[in-house]
């Protein structure tokens, strides 16, 4: 029951924000998202106390027989915590910017958070699909209306993004309809029990793959990503890269692999190579970018490629580290995109060539940016190190070449991220004045850094939280 209150809180919060006034909207949204964060920590404590019922069921639709089913195990809880941790930070990142029609913007942000939380906890295929699709509508409007750059060009990119992801989702829907025909139910546990032949699994796997590969995105379905990240407002980029793409990754291990284990096993090497291809491609393209935001978009492509490779490697280590890295990547990517936003607020540009020499004027910002940059390149001591190292290690147990080539992400990543940092922050003092971080901005960076380092040094709580879920996935792979 408890998790439903969180969903209701976010949904009602979206409504409240919409009916507030433009000036107060960001504060209302911040309040609600902070309460949501606190509440999700309360859920974690209940979970550890064993007082949190894992499955929730309400009758919903009689024909086809679909229930309102939620499942809150450790994995779903971790994703929930990630969402509600990032949400207040994302909302706070916009507090100092003046948006036209701010109440609609913040209402959409909360609505999207609602849908994403729903996606993480839904355990009925149809309910999950509905949350999955509903999350798409707010981000479409956020990017379209509050985005930057030429309006016509942005329109084209955002519509392309929408059509792309919608197309992928529809194939997933066909997969679910097919599964319903086989199982007579879409409850996650019923689908796990289903014994499909290899060909049937392949069909389902393919339908799901299109949806997830576009959302994550994997090569060659990534073409929407960099442009939308670049055009969307900072808040939209953070939502997309910090949380929304995790929906795709999460779904791979919750829905795709356990439902079609034989197909996953058969296709394992190809899928890992697709993930690693993303690593290489993203890193190389990032090297040549002149726009900071675009560079970070491609770097994000490389990082999620590695996570996907770890998941599709089908080892317990890979899945555990992938989940930790999802968590770490969510934090870091919000941090780096926020740093870009800080620069853009002051200089109104993101072109690397026009930047430089900021460090001399803003020491606090320089160190904050350095922390998130280093975390992004998986410096030991950060949670990203735990994640990426584990991923590479797990891949090496499958095939040593996976990790040799996938390991380039760290080498190349360090190169382009530090080069970017050097060009943007170092050098002779910039002539244009650069105000150092405000209190809100410092708080956001401080919170991110604290979480990144805490779990970097002590990742055990995450491990414990997700261990049952990982075991379940592995059992599902090995029994069939």
């Amino acid at each position: 029951m408890e998790v439903i209150y969180l969903l209701i809180l976010l949904l009602v919060g979206a409504g409240l924000t919409y009916f507030s006034v433009d000036k107060a909207a960001s504060r209302v949204a911040l309040l609600i998202s902070t309460v949501a964060f606190g509440y999700s920590l309360y859920l974690v404590s209940l979970h550890y106390g064993g007082q949190l019922p894992e499955n929730i069921h309400f009758d919903w639709i009689s024909k086809p027989s679909i229930g309102f089913d939620l499942r809150l195990d450790g994995l779903a809880l971790l994703m929930l915590v990630l969402t509600t941790t990032l949400l207040p930070l994302i909302v706070a990142s916009g507090i100092e910017t003046k948006f036209a029609n701010a109440k609609s913007l913040y209402a959409l942000v909360l609505l999207m958070a609602f849908a994403m939380c729903g996606t993480f906890v839904a355990s009925n295929g149809l309910l999950y699909y509905i949350f999955w699709e509903v999350a798409l509508i707010p981000i479409y409007f956020i990017a379209l209306i509050w985005g930057s750059g030429d309006a016509e060009e942005r329109k084209k990119q955002v519509v392309k993004f929408f059509i792309y992801t919608f197309a992928g989702s529809l194939f997933m829907l066909v997969g679910f309809v097919y599964l319903y025909g086989k199982a007579g139910s879409l409850l996650l546990t019923d689908l796990y029990k289903l014994e499909l032949s290899y060909d049937e699994q392949l069909l389902v796997f393919g339908g799901f793959f299109l949806a997830y590969a576009i959302k994550i995105p994997l090569i060659p379905f990534h073409t929407w990503q960099a442009n939308v990240y670049q055009k969307a407002p900072a808040m939209g980029t953070m939502l997309l890269s910090g949380i929304m793409l995790k929906m795709g990754l999460y779904s791979v291990i919750r829905w795709q692999i356990p439902i079609s284990p034989d197909a996953s096993k058969e296709l394992m090497p190809y899928l890992v190579w697709i993930g690693i291809a993303g690593v290489i491609y993203g890193s190389i393209v990032a090297l040549r970018q002149r726009d900071v935001k675009k560079l970070l978009a491609y770097s994000s492509l490389a990082h999620v490629g590695l996570i996907a490779a770890g998941f599709y490697g089908l080892t317990a280590d890979g899945i555990t580290s992938g989940i930790i890295q999802m968590f770490g990547h969510g934090l870091v990517v919000v941090g780096v995109f926020f740093a870009v936003e800080v620069i853009e607020r002051r200089y109104q540009t993101r072109a690397i060539s026009e930047l430089g020499g900021i460090r001399a004027q803003a020491v606090k910002f320089a160190s904050a940016f350095l922390i998130v940059t280093l975390a992004s390149v998986a410096l030991p001591g950060t949670v990203n190190f735990v994640g990426e190292f584990g991923l590479l290690f797990s891949l090496s147990t499958q095939n040593v070449w996976f990790s040799v080539i996938g390991g380039l992400t760290i080498v190349l990543g360090a190169y382009y991220m530090l080069k970017m940092y050097q060009q943007v922050m170092l050098g002779e003092a910039n002539k244009k004045p650069f105000a150092d971080l405000s209190v809100t901005e410092s708080l956001i960076f401080g919170a991110l850094a604290a979480v990144i380092f805490f779990f970097g040094i002590y990742p055990q709580p995450i491990n414990d939280l997700i261990a049952p879920a990982v075991n379940e996935i592995i059992a599902q792979i090995s029994t069939n």
Binding site: I61, V134, L136, A151, I163, L170, F171, L173, V174, V177
Partner: protein
């Protein structure tokens, strides 16, 4: 039966209102009366009966579809309150015609005899011909009425010919006899030829490919409210009738009939959608989108386990979204010459509520969840996939993606451009219809069982 009589009586009363000079309360009165008829209609639920030598058969199929038609007519009558402001003296005529149209629609789903069926379809069609040409000084409206009349009477002729052939084969117009003949082994070939001719006539009314050529011109030329009537009420009525006839006559149809349906359905979706992509006029765009929805509705006939509940749900979802969209179109284009997309620019700023209603209606038509259109598509996919037509489902999915392209053209215009026209006033009936249509859409979208359980 009582429903049909009450509807006809209401139509006559509307005409008398004009004589008594009660024009001002005509629309509110009709709305209340239609709600009363809706209640009267609901009393017949779960009570099968036949009247007048099986001319009229009242069963759950007819009751639920009639209920849908009554709700749609209520919306259309309400929207008429502001639409005929420039010709107030004709208001009662137009309201009465819409109510007569409803009586035709009710007859088309509750007939027990082909004679009654033909009467129903003619009452419906003639009302539409008049409504299409109702802007008598507007050349486009005249063209639309004329075109619709010529093409429509041709289709009526084909239907009549089909009925004659069926009569020639089995010697009866009665549906019970037809159902028996359909399952019996030896029946004259004319029976099937007659059936095919009936199907052609109805496919014309539904505007499915390849009988769709009239739709865009007629939709564009007709007054917007008439277009709303044609694309919601008339289309769903014709489809429900087609379903009823198909269900009765499909006793032992060869496998090829399914193939024909699959092809027609796939073609309708594809042709309608691809043509819709290129349109600049909203009514024309919705005409083509309606053609593609006709293709989706034809999917309800495919498979061994065809279910009227799915069609009822799809029809309801489509019609509510259509009503929502048209109420906004009526508001935006009230004083304008045409319904081009440019007129919708900036609606998101100048009137956020109606822009929201139009957005939700379009999202529902595109089949995006929490709106009714999503479940409608889901049920279709599930039914068709069960019967093994994976290819058709893929075509339908691809079409759903294409459809997003043109629905979003309108959404983009509303939210990314600056307003060109100043719009003032908040016409009560338009707002009320838009709100109610939106709420109904959401309600059946979140609780689809409310509708599908009516027809098990």
């Amino acid at each position: 039966m009582n429903t049909l009589i009450a509807i006809t009586a209401l139509g006559v009363i509307c005409l008398i209102f004009e004589l008594l000079n009660l024009r001002k309360i005509l629309v509110p009165f009709s709305i209340v009366a239609l709600c009363g008829i809706l209640y009267l209609n609901s009393l017949d639920y779960n009570q099968t009966a036949s009247y007048y030598n099986n001319m009229i058969v009242v069963d759950n199929f007819s009751v639920t579809f009639t209920a849908l038609f009554i709700v749609l007519t209520t919306f259309l009558v309400a929207l008429g309150h502001h639409f005929y402001d420039d010709v107030p003296e004709k208001l009662s005529d137009f309201v009465a015609i819409k109510i007569f149209l409803l009586s035709g629609a009710a007859a088309m789903v509750s007939f027990g005899n082909l004679a009654m069926f033909f009467l129903g379809i003619e009452v419906l069609s003639i009302s539409l011909y008049i409504l299409a040409a109702s802007r008598r000084l507007n050349i486009k409206s005249n063209e639309s009425g004329m075109k619709y009349f010529l093409m429509g009477s041709f289709a009526s002729g084909i239907i009549l010919f089909g009925i004659c052939l069926i009569y020639g084969a089995i010697g009866s117009f009665d549906m019970r006899v037809i159902m028996e003949a359909a399952v019996s082994a030896d029946v004259e070939e004319w029976f099937y030829i007659g059936g095919i001719l009936l199907a052609i006539g109805l496919l014309f009314k539904i505007a499915a490919v390849p009988f769709h050529f009239w739709a865009p011109d007629v939709y564009e030329g007709a007054p917007a409210l008439t277009t709303a009537t044609m694309s919601t009420l008339a289309k769903v009525t014709a489809m429900a009738t087609f379903f009823k006839l198909f269900f009765a006559m499909s006793g032992n149809l060869p496998e090829t009939s399914q193939t024909v349906l699959v092809v027609l359905s796939g073609l309708s979706m594809t042709v309608g959608n691809i043509m819709a992509l290129r349109q600049a006029n909203v009514k024309r765009m919705l005409a083509f989108s309606g053609i593609s929805h006709a293709g989706f509705m034809l999917m309800t006939l495919i498979g061994t386990q065809i279910s009227a509940g799915t069609l009822l749900y799809y029809g309801t979802a489509y019609a509510f979204a259509g009503i929502g969209a048209f109420s906004v179109i009526l508001y935006v284009c009230r004083h304008l010459e045409n319904e081009d997309i440019v007129n919708f620019q900036g609606l998101g700023k100048s009137n956020p509520f109606l822009a929201f209603v139009l957005t939700t209606s379009l999202l529902s038509m595109a089949g995006i969840p929490i709106f009714a259109g999503f479940f409608a598509k889901l049920m279709l996919f599930s039914q068709v996939l069960e019967s093994g037509h994976l290819a058709l489902v893929i075509v339908a999915v691809v079409n759903s993606i294409i459809a997003v392209g043109y629905y979003f053209k309108l959404i983009l215009a509303m939210y990314t451009k600056e307003p060109q026209h100043e719009r003032t006033g908040r016409p009560f009936y338009i707002y009320a219809v838009a709100t109610v249509a939106l709420l109904l859409n959401l309600t059946i979208g979140l609780f689809p069982s409310l509708v599908t359980d009516l027809l098990r």
